[in-house]
Amino acid sequence: MPTVAEELEEVLKLCNKCGLCLAGCPIYKITGIEWTNARGRVALLRNAFLDKKVELSDLKDPIYNCLTCNGCTEHCPPAVPTGEIIFRARQELLRQKGQSWIQRMLFHKLLPNPEMLHKATKLLRLADVTGLRTLARKTGLTRLVGDAGKAEAMVPKVPASEGLEAIKRMVKKIDRPKYHAAYFVGCYAPNFAPEKAAATIRVLNKNRVEVAVPDFACCGLPAAGYGDMESARDLARKNIDIASKMKVDAIVTPCASCSSFLKDYAKLLADDSEWAEKAKGFAGKVRDISEFLVDIGLSTEMGELKRKVTFHDPCHLAHHQKIKDQPRTILKSIPGVEFVEMGEADMCCGAAGSYAFKNYDLSQKVLERKMGNVARTGADTLVSSCPACIMQLSCGVGQQKLPVSVLEIVELLDEAYRNARGKD
């Protein structure tokens, strides 16, 4: 087995300190401090892994305050994969220091089991309906738990829902389907936004895609983000196993983070002889929803929507999957929509999974910059394609009191299709 240093030597040495990465780093744009950009982080990790000048455990800040948005790599001529290096460093830190009980519970118990995860979010709903959450906010109880408490307002109200089971019931047979797709629902929709799942299914059906909703578990990205690759691999095996029992043309998801990580399964399990081939097959079928709809030829039987729309590129879509054109193609094809590009559309919004919960103040500053760019467009609708972005952007729009609605791209499409039906 190669050591981490051996694994990373080549990529760490790729950085020649030109600093073009600075232009793509949302955190550096706020702090201006060298250790918060890719060039600085890579230099420090080189000191730790290759030159052994510093202990990895002294570098927790540079390792954890990175959004891993890959904005730097987009600007880097030799394409230093700083996000991947950071992931690897987190993995090594975890190996050295172990996992907190909360991470153990989350990655080992809740995320692998949609049913248990749903039960956990129900507790949050209980806090909502009983007024406990409001009480906690008012009494300042949330502030006691640091950044996570400050970020609590980002967590949307938990709707009354029956989780994945409810979404499964939304599925129906359609006439002469052209394609069959497995809908990778992810953790967000069943627990926080079942109506978005409904919109996804309707949009796919409208495009003659018959949808199946299997019992997929979490994609594994949250665990990987904390360096727990073993949990991520377990989740991957579980999902691959589920998909292997289905006959579908594609595995589709409207969550950019999920699609990005699912596509990485091949890499994740490359060294597992039993699973490597299956992982490749699985990853080859994964499609982001915009990518899929444009690939199969988007149905344009839409009604008019009078909206001025701008699009925020999720990092996991634009930087990790290089999908930038498809969402814009879709938005521009909706009759009545005036599409306006915002400045720095592909710059991270600061959500970055659970980043906002760990680094609330920085995350908020990144969000403020994003909101400035949104406001300058004069758009009344802000569209994206990632639940974490949607939560963060909604929070930003609320804080700044912008007259802007925040929608998933499938929701806007659904509205356009439903308007067409209205016309009939």
Binding site: K13, L22, G32, I33, L59, D61
Partner: protein, 454 residues
Amino acid sequence: MEDTVLQEKQVFYQKLGEITGAENVLTGEKATAPYTVDGISPQAVVYPASTGQVADIIKAANESRTILVPWGGGSKQYIGPCLEAADTVLCLKNMKRVVELEASNFTTQVQAGMVNDELQKQLAEKNLFFPLDPFYIESSTIGGEIATNANGPRRILYGAVRDLVLGVTVVTPTGDIIHTGGKTMKNVAGMDLCRMYIGSWGTLGIITEAVLRLFPLPEVSTGIYITFPGPEDAFRVVGQLLNSPLTPSAIELVDSVAGRNVAETAGSSLSDDEVFLIVNAEGTKGDVERHRKDITSLAKANKAKSIMTLEEEKASGAWKAYRGIHRAMLGASSSALQGKASVPISKLGDMVQRVKKVSTSQGVEIGVTAHCGNGILYTYLADEHEKLVRITGELKQAAASLGGFFLIEVAPLSVRKEVAILPPRDDYQIMRHLKTGFDPNNILNPGRLAGGLH
């Protein structure tokens, strides 16, 4: 003795906090290691917020003989003569404001820490732009670009830093604040100190503000990509183009070694001997169309293999890839060298041939790009120490024999320490006198002065 020095340093770091606020001073390895230059790690990094604070820091540094390294975006910290020593990095990241924007005078006064690309975004809202476009435009600061005289492809139409910067506010190495030049076109009284600061590499003072010349945004900007079977065909076109009534804003040459990525981004490909030219035209739609038409016929008459006019978005993507060539060529190897030759404009084609000859005789792949309107050529190669030394020697001879010179920009530290980075000249002695006169305690960027070491 050592104890006294240590105590003085501690007093200095404490003073930094008093001047800028403790939150604007970083110490400790985690914070300072990323500012390591030429193997020297600073002990502290300070982020002043005003010209006054910079002056106070410099005065305190003189008292304790602390060596300061000015820092903007850091994109050129690893280029040029080696730094001799460093104690505290003075980073201008908190000074990035537009102080004044007078659209009707076509001038703006900005703080030195303003990133060029960020300034362009603000100017574009007023339909203006600042034509300086060095390769690191997205991360380099205005102050850093002036201090390192960083130019780009558009120099051929709009001029160089010296033509675009009207005035600078500088804190001298002894802590005096001076304003040299101004916001009028005629503004030199006595010696032209403003221009002396252009390319002074932070050795004669720290630039804290600058007054820049602005231009209205062109209506259209178009990149024309032309592939030629070999460099001689391309240079024939360049010669005719320069001697025509056309006014392109850039004429860049890229060979097949350097141009792989750009060609891909532009949607084309290059085989071994082929080169391509990027000719940029900007102005009114009519102007640009005339350029496109004339340049196309010129290219066709000179064996052009393919001609492509890139739409705005693709053109900007290809420009970005072009700007990235420098670093992409160096990226994969820690034994990489980037050199820069300057020869008379008409000799640029000959210089390319000489480079290719060296490449063949030494058995090393050398990539080439060139600003054709200015006689500037870049070379990129990677090899072991001895060979790099030998090859740079040959390239220096080649450039000199054509009436120009060759200098090393990026190279492994061992090479930069052994080989003269800059060409021999007879005016370095005067520069040394200037440096000593300005900076008696040698506290600003020692070693960085042109000709200072060899």
